[in-house]
Symmetry: C2
């Protein structure tokens, strides 16, 4: 199925694609609804099929799997998983600790990598501008390495959300204050927002107007123009709460 | 030209592909030898062609550029740049400060991103196992954002190099010592090596045997299995010398 048509259909049906034995295993263990599982005999033989208690199960050939898959090397299993409503993530807590806010992130690899990093640091809530890439994009799901099952991702009017959030907003900015020591943010009692901007254009002026603490990672080398967005996010998260 | 054939030819001729006005500008300013430049009239009109003092220059159509390019959206200019010999990087200093060592890194995006991060932190020397992806792979060059022009990258027998380097070797390992405070590495007087392993298999046993300081980024969330390799490298670099 053409990638675009499949994505449109997934949006309409509120499902997303999960591929490969590792992510499929996380999906089955996650409590997310399973709509459809298409897997090769190899996956069934390794016990995968026994774990499919919900949804429709189809055994498919390698050639059929290849037609379904968007991966270069399709790997045993392709499934459709039901998206969760925001209310389903209430048990993760609302705006406790550090919230990651993403303004116009476009690259699926960066988005998934930031979800994975947030997961590692126990950040359960990501708030995105409406034009940030979907967290259900197949490449995002792959790069997130399962974080998609453990993270609440909201798409909102970001400047408005930041204005009303009642938390300090740290914003990554080349015009920010260099952080030369670890901040003493106590996330249990002092929730805060870390805002990361678009890969080439940075934070939009409207969102930047809501930043209370512009911060910068010191450019020690003095030759590179910028850091990759997901790398900058990781370093700032680590400096804030690592 | 098929990507594989082009790569083989580039290896034989000791050149690499640079694409897009931004990287092309860095190539022209870098002092690297320029073999061939193929660019659209748009690039010439914007003054690009005037800056080509060396090498052959061809004005090409959008369609011709598309046939040359490996990018989804070819962008004005495609060029072949001459690789530098290791001796040409001598002015960067040899093993001063922090050296980044990469064991079996496979993903071009990760490789380029690590070169970009190293560039930001002033790390001028990267030592790789022979089976690490080439720093001249077009996707690596793109992701490096120009770091390829400012970084000496050696491909060596890595365990042997580590054994003889005479520096402490920090190795990223899930069995490492959690770093809970910034290390006080003074890179001017205490050079050291930071070793990063393969995306899924980590550091090889042979290289791990040469690690003097296994280190870990604390898993605060407790749910994610690992971090992206280029993210882990960035956080550890930042903790060591940021």
């Amino acid at each position: 199925m053409a990638a675009y048509r499949l994505q449109k259909r997934c949006d309409e049906e509120a499902v997303f694609v999960v591929e490969g034995p590792k992510l499929a295993g996380e999906a089955l263990a996650s409590g997310f609804g399973i709509r459809t599982v298409c897997a090769t005999a190899e996956w069934s033989a390794e016990g995968g099929a026994r774990r499919v208690e919900r949804g429709e199960f189809y055994e498919v050939s390698e050639a059929e799997l290849e037609r379904l898959s968007s991966m270069k090397t399709p790997n045993q299993v392709w499934m459709l998983v039901e998206r969760k409503g925001l209310d389903d993530f209430k048990d993760l807590g609302d705006s406790e600790g550090l919230v990651l806010a993403l303004d116009r992130i476009q690259d699926p690899g960066n988005m998934g990598t930031m979800m994975r990093t947030a997961d590692w640091y126990g950040i359960r809530h990501i708030v995105c501008s409406k034009d940030t890439v979907s967290c259900y994009n197949p490449k995002v799901v792959q790069a997130s390495m399962g974080a998609v099952f453990r993270t609440r991702v909201d798409y909102v009017d970001l400047p408005q959300w930041l204005a009303g959030c009642g938390m300090p907003v740290y914003g990554a900015s080349l015009q920010g204050r260099p952080i030369t020591e670890r901040l003493t943010l106590n996330t249990e009692h002092s929730p805060a927002v870390l805002l990361i901007g678009n890969e080439s254009r940075g934070i939009s002026p409207e969102a930047m107007a809501q930043v209370t603490d512009p911060v910068l990672i010191p450019n020690i080398g003095g030759t590179a123009e910028s850091l990759n967005a997901s790398v900058a996010a990781a370093i700032l998260i680590d400096r804030l709460i690592g």
